[in-house]
Amino acid sequence: MEKFEKLTGIAAPMPLVNIDTDMIIPKVFLKSIARTGFGKNLFDEMRYNRDGTEIEDFVLNKPQYRNSEILVAGDNFGCGSSREHAPWAIADFGIKCVVSTSFADIFFNNCFKNGILPVVLPQEQVDVLMKDAEKGENARMTVDLEAQQITTSDGEVIKFEVDAFKKQCLLEGLDDIGQTLQKQSSVEAYEGKMAQERPWV
């Protein structure tokens, strides 16, 4: 997994609430058996007309936001299905950080497994970042995971919370499975005990 340490980039404002995974990547694109290549279909139905032409006023189609690396979004981002294609599409597009007042649970976890940092902030602070993002291309903000802070283009510093374990994994780009396999003896001990206690499982 790619590391996430510090990022300075363009932030796209998407104030809509309840952006669900079907909006992020419509299910017609779930038929691939690969993990990459979904970026071009990120937000497909909001981004393109049926004939494949771009919908001009969709934020990521505007010239100043085409290279966004941060997304500032409305409440309850990523609700809906558990499809990991949603974070894959976001990452493949080049977005590495999403800020909102809340995220759906599964989506939130999936982000960390794909090198994306989801940041939860209170409404007032999301509003500040949203305003900053609306300024466009030159208003780059900086997300510093180590320091747990976002700095707006005006230099305002906003602190955020992040789970210590997840932070470490992102900073080091660590793969979960390898780590868990190191604890295999605990798992085997548990399995041994369960074979006695709950043999029907």
């Binding site: 909006m23 017609v28 058996i33 990991e84 497994k113 499975i177 604890k183 605990s186 798992v187 548990y190």
Partner: protein, 468 residues
Amino acid sequence: MSPKTLYDKIWDAHVAHEAEDGTCLLYIDRHLVHEVTSPQAFEGLRLAGRKVHAPDKTIAVPDHNVPTTAGREDPAQMTAESRIQVEALDKNAREFGVHYYPVSDVRQGIVHIVGPEQGWTLPGMTVVCGDSHTATHGAFGALAHGIGTSEVEHVLATQTLIQKKSLNMKVEITGKLKPGVTAKDITLAVIGETGTGGGTGYVIEYCGEAIRDLSMEGRMTVCNMAIEGGARAGLIAPDETTYAYVNGRPHAPKGAQWEAALNWWKTLYTDEGAHFDKVVTLKGEDIQPVVTWGTSPEDVLPITGVVPNPEDFEGGKVEAARRSIEYMGLTPGQKLTDIEIDTVFIGSCTNGRIEDFRAVAEVVKGKKIKDGMRAMIVPGSGLVRAQAEEEGLADIFREAGFEWRLAGCSMCLAMNPDQLSEGERCAATSNRNFEGRQGYKGRTHLVSPAMAAAAAITGKLTDIRDLI
């Protein structure tokens, strides 16, 4: 010992390792796998030279994009991409040696219907699947939740999941339901109350008389949509109804093991005085047959209501409601019972079980669907289909003009050819009304099976109480 909730008890019984910061390795008793979210996970194993840790606890079944029309074994019925996914599952299931129900097996069906039906799902277990509606299995008092593909790979490789404990939430439905009100109305009414984010960070335990009175089918419908309320999982404590359903299923314990299991299952309830971080209570008598008007499952109203005015909402919801109403092609103030429907979809892991079909048959028996209506009934599994045939339900459906399909997810997510066309309006028994969920620019109203059946007959969203 301090009193524990049902969730606390199941959680504690499955922690295989706990790190200092409270991050746990939760042992997984059953891992259900389908064709859409697993190919990349199996590929990951192969690339890393890893095996499936417990193939005996892993069950694979294709459901999301298999065709549901006759002759579906013919590969020509599937698009190239769907075929690649189904073939990939076939290959992976055989190569890694997991339990497998291919399309040609009568037991094939929607993964969340097959699991309970075959007795894979048992009380007190941890169950995961790369699909958010895994919450369904919570009806058995099993801790069941959806996971992403990276987690699917993690469970395949280690039989554990890295988890932090969620908070406890209690949803109590007191008293009795009124006639015409079903499990689907309960679960939609709860989401209408709490919102789609109301359960975020929680595991919900549903309890109360109205929940106790439900059959296992009804309980599965309630837990199925815990995820639409944002919760990680939904749970209902096991009781005699649960044991009666489980007993005798192919993979349920037998003999002395059954007795041992039963002894443990009987300890699985929330202790008197246990702490809940959030409590929501609804009166069963107050719940009415409901329908969704918008494009979020929280956009719920009693069928007697009218399309709301976006201005009546607050904050970001004003814009979301405006967008929903426009997308749905409705007018604020319009009576819900005046909304005309052209498609009816009955099925999915929410409402694709035998009891659902019996409710439909009761409404449509001896009647015909409205002229021009496209109405399909898609059983949740091959066994549900067989039982409906045996009970004569299938004949009632066919005579009324319904298409009687083969088992699969079908129009619930429209990955296969079963889709809405642009502007089509559907009364659906599934669980999601998101934009484009059932087809590009398709419009979905979520309802109970009886209400969907009523809409098929009248051609409009209909108050089922007017027909009974």
